[in-house]
Amino acid sequence: MTDSKYFTTTKKGEIFELKAELNSDKKEKKKEAVKKVIASMTVGKDVSALFPDVVNCMQTDNLELKKLVYLYLMNYAKSQPDMAIMAVNTFVKDCEDPNPLIRALAVRTMGCIRVDKITEYLCEPLRKCLKDEDPYVRKTAAVCVAKLHDINAQLVEDQGFLDTLKDLISDSNPMVVANAVAALSEIAESHPNSNLLDLNPQSINKLLTALNECTEWGQIFILDCLANYTPRDDRESQSICERVTPRLSHANSAVVLSAVKVLMKFMEMLPKDLDYYGTLLKKLAPPLVTLLSAEPELQYVALRNINLIVQKRPEILKHEMKVFFVKYNDPIYVKLEKLDIMIRLASQANIAQVLAELKEYATEVDVDFVRKAVRAIGRCAIKVEQSAERCVSTLLDLIQTKVNYVVQEAIVVIKDIFRKYPNKYESVIATLCENLDSLDEPEARAAMIWIVGEYAERIDNADELLESFLEGFHDESTQVQLQLLTAIVKLFLKKPTETQELVQQVLSLATQDSDNPDLRDRGYIYWRLLSTDPVAAKEVVLAEKPLISEETDLIEPTLLEELICHIGTLASVYHKPPSAFVEGSRGVMHKRLPARTGSCNILIMSKLNSSLLSPQLGGDIGGSPAMGAGFGAAPTVMPASLNAPVGGGLGDLFDLGGGVGMPMGAYIPPKTVWLPAMKAKGLEISGTFARRAGVIQMELVLTNKAMSVMTDFAIQFNRNSFGLAPAGPLQVLTPLGPNQTIEVSLPLSTVGPVMKMDPLNNLQVAVKNNIDVFYFSCQYPISMLFVEDGKMERQVFLATWKDIPNDNESQFQIQDCHLNSEAASNKLQGSNIFTIAKRTVEGQDMLYMSIKLSNGIWVLAELKVQAGNPNYTISLKCRAPEVSQCVFQCYEAVLKN
């Protein structure tokens, strides 16, 4: 007899009938009725009306029935919160049942009922279950803490469950340990700086021991958790790697990938000349290759990750090109990924084989795949110079097939080859021109037009060819129009006598008949250039082009590092940081690879610096640099009607740049001497702290006042209140000679170990050089820790202000400040103190401000400014009132400087 019979009732009075059955005295009938209810629920019928009747069946001695009722509760409790309370008693009772299966079932289910009133009752049973004698119950309770935290984080903290959970990491049972680790990791994800996991060599050791004993899933939890740890030095790093490598032989692909993640990350700390480093590299290749025998979905995840690994450490798989050869029956998503990796691995040594394969693929039928294969041939030509000729001839062969999309794709890549190797392959232009008519894709048309324009002097009928495109100018896409405009101007500059008419025609099409601003702008610029100074025009339009780079689609190094830390996860599949696709993760620390300890690692530092610069550049000048230059003086030929609005618009834009809206930059205290030369055998250190583009920097000035040369500088911090730690080594690359001074800027992270200091902003620093180790302490302005996304929503501000008890409020006076409220607000914003609202009451401005610290603590402020009164009053409210004093000091420093 199967369960399918429960789905079959479709009579009209169904709910009514079920109600009667649920209230039947006969146990068997009751159970049948509940099954029917669950069956209805399964097919999506709303059976919430039966809530009280089903809950009545909860107290049963039948396990199957109990499970069904629990299932029902999980589904409908949220829609019937008041009635759900009826179930609490049974839950609490079941949590004390002699059978551990029932106890676990009850605590598991209760955690899934996301109703506040129920959660309150969950605490006591949960506390007991966390200490239950049966590991099955404890492992279930451990997960329940994470569930509860998701519903009510404060409650979990207040009840001390986090500490109990931490204790479970030392539990004697491996499954309990694994679930506790999983739960803590999950909780820590929403509290990035909470240091919940408190990983240290002792706890790491415990985890590594548990790794050998728990289930495959538990192993993944532990490995993923290990990947968040930063070993103290290369020796610790190596010893962890040694204990993780056996996991590479696990049958479960997910275990293997998580192990690869840990190894890829910790390898970063190993010196490259270490024998073990080489051994490890060799050990990584075979398991990565084996992942390609897994199920297709897992192959896909593996390939996306291999793509990252190949970019980060090409040496691991450089001899494994053949395993990425495409099989006929591979799913398309596997084929495309394999192709991508093949190109990355292509080198002079294997290019012949790669090309033979690519040629094979280019004659397949799957359009996307074929296109990508053709493109790949072009990329090979650009990447491996020795192969360029063979690639070009392969592409010509493919053009001969006359398969439309193959031809178009080939022309697009040939354009790039021309750019990479100028004056080498132009003999093929004739063949390309034969296919002009068959090009119907904008990219291919644009590429062909570019080729004609670029080599106009060698193509006899270039003017005819370009003219033929001009006929349908307005039907072309912007890409083609722009290219056509440029090509004809190039042609004109090369053969001015016979093409005057053509250039007039295209300029007027572009400037007068088009409503595309980009096209118009370019048209005007050419027009003006040509009419005022043809020589300059030649220099601009026919300028030598920069070479195109070999690897076109490499992932930017900082992103690559972050993605390596996320191996196996969705981020590694999307090749995007989690903050790009996970809601509410914006403030979360980006994961980074650990820096090498000991001697300076220039490579990482330079990567770091470039990453600091790039976002700024992207935002500030990424727009259209040509704009300003082109319109500095309006060209005389420009129609007057256009002149005014455009000019005005730009003026407005420029106004923004220096206007009131812009923050003024963060306050940086002046440098002070931290370590006098007397105390440090001749080394004097002064410095200050700054926050630039979201990165905290310690700016140091090292002066050698001794007689001998100083070398081998390194720096370390003691644990401190906000987990400040150097994000890289101290960069003193050249020895510091006597009487020499060097300025160093050291980026800091806030993920170091935390210990409360007194005063709170105190930092104890150790600096080492070839002579000795020196210690000093300094204080940083807490404003360095104010993060950029510290602007609170108005509503949230109001609620939070009310929510924080009045005892936590502190008031300060700032005297002798002569700014008006607006200027004050601007100045403060430069230091990430954001004004959320302003209210004026009886000539007194009240500014409401919010600040967020790097560890997630919010500080709310109310600043009272009275016109003509140089004394401000400030009230600060914060859940951690001990920071208030430091925050006040910052206000004072920022406003007065």
């Binding site: 199967t2 289930t215 056996p246 990938l257 398991p287 025998s293 297709p296 050869f325 033979a356």
Partner: protein, 449 residues
């Protein structure tokens, strides 16, 4: 960490059953899944990971079902896919086959299993033998012996329960090697690899400790017995039960086996580069088998195919295929099936073969040439002739490869041998291990012109 919810959908996208594990996402979001899939299908696109807004769907397909995990976090994707496949395995062991009908017929058990195998997105126990000890398919009354969670669930040995008893203690081992081959249209071997698997059927009482000895090259090097014939395994993967650290240290394969059938290990050897190997023949026999004959030879593709496929547009297709067995004549390949692709619009097939029989399979657009028994060192021919319609089909057809299926019993192409299997149980019983070797085709493809 992984999944907020898991759904089982039918082919039309209707939810058959689901489980909301984290309660942090709207369960109705799954309604977007199938429309996205259909749009992708229209574009001839496909991805095991699809997105709708903040929801990410990771899916696998099994028969007429989609198993879909939904998440909004940066989930461990490898874990999710691996878990979905594990779920399929569990359901199959419970219901024989996982399909729409078996879910409807057993929905109560399915719910129970879904509750047990994952909690709040964290996979828990997924060993179906252990699950069967406490999730059974009949109802229970608490007072009359409701099941308790077996200690095994949380134990370090989470795959074998205590107290198993058999009258006769035996272990059956199957060493199965699959040959993956990829040959270019010009006849050069692009890739050739062996994926081996050692499967166990364990009929042993108590908690036996087993140790498996193979002629593993690395092991022999460690122990200084380099003269013997050995096999260099490029990569090895083990069942959860094998102590990985021990293997890493001294290459010892030691374990407490799961009861019944399981895959103990798998291994991979790349044979693209010519290498030497041993040719082994072993009869099913109590373990003391001897490496009867070992002659050194190259790993040539076991069955080599040469083909000429000539297409005369609007008139006919002529196919000539030559198959040669490149292993010792004392071995025999059984059930050889050679699939030769033909255009989809051919008609009136005619065949001639020197051995075996041919069949035209219109649904696969292929000719299947079957040879029941193909001894080593032989060569056979097949000719096929098809008509082509005078109107040419406009559809472009890919050049599909020739594929070959076969199996060769009593033979491992790598030369791997089980040297011993030591079984120690505290009650001191004697147990017999049995070993069987077989080589078969894996992904065996030869591209055509």
């Amino acid at each position: 960490m992984s999944a907020s919810a898991i759904f089982i959908l039918d082919l039309k996208g209707k939810v058959l059953i689901s489980r909301n594990y984290m309660g942090n996402m709207d369960m109705n979001k799954v309604d977007h899944f199938m429309p996205i899939m259909m749009r992708m299908e229209e574009d001839a696109d496909s991805s095991p990971l699809v997105t709708h807004g903040s929801a990410h769907f990771l899916w696998i397909k099994h028969r007429n079902l989609y198993l879909v995990a939904m998440t909004k976090k940066n989930a461990n994707a490898a874990l999710v896919y691996s878990f979905l496949y594990k779920m399929v395995e569990v359901f199959k062991e419970y219901f024989k086959e996982l399909e729409e009908e078996s879910i409807r017929d057993n929905f109560v058990t399915v719910y129970e299993l879904m509750d047990e195998v994952m909690d709040f997105g964290f996979p828990q126990t997924t060993d179906s033998k252990i699950l069967q000890e406490y999730i059974t398919q009949q109802g229970h009354k608490l007072d009359v012996g409701a099941p308790r969670p077996p200690a095994t669930v949380t134990n370090a040995v989470s795959w074998r329960s205590e107290g198993i008893k058999y009258r006769k203690n035996e272990v059956f081992m199957d060493v199965i090697e699959s040959v993956n081959l990829l040959v270019s249209a010009t006849g050069s071997v692009l890739r050739s690899e062996i994926v081996g698997s050692i499967k166990l059927k364990v009929v042993l009482s108590g908690m036996p400790e087993l140790r498996l000895g193979l002629n593993d090259k690395v092991l022999f090097e460690i122990t200084g017995r380099e003269k013997s014939k050995t096999v260099e395994l490029e990569d090895v993967k083990f069942h959860q039960c094998v102590r990985l650290s021990r293997f890493e240290n001294d290459r010892t394969i030691s374990f407490i086996p799961p009861d019944g059938e399981s895959e103990l290990m798998s291994y991979r050897l790349n044979t693209t580069v010519s290498r030497t190997h041993t040719h082994t023949r072993v009869h099913t026999s109590p373990l003391l088998h001897v490496n009867l004959l070992s002659s050194v030879c190259q790993v040539k593709p076991l069955i080599w195919i040469e083909s000429v496929i000539e297409k005369f547009s609007h008139s006919r297709v002529e196919i000539k295929v030559k198959a040669r067995s490149q292993f010792k004549s004392r071995s025999t390949a059984n059930n050889v099936a050679i699939m030769v692709p033909v255009p989809s619009d051919v008609d009136s097939p005619k065949f001639k073969t020197s051995t075996g029989s041919c069949k035209y399979l219109p649904e696969k657009s292929a000719v299947q040439w079957n040879i029941k028994s193909f001894p080593g060192g032989k060569e056979y021919m097949m000719r096929a002739h098809f008509g082509l319609p005078s109107v040419e089909s406009t559809e472009l057809e890919g050049r599909r490869p020739i594929t070959v299926n076969f199996e060769i019993p009593y033979f491992t192409v790598s030369g791997i041998q089980v040297r011993y299997l030591k079984i120690i149980e505290k009650s001191g019983y004697e147990a017999l291990p049995w070993v069987r070797y077989i080589t078969q085709s894996g992904d065996y493809q030869l591209r055509t012109n």
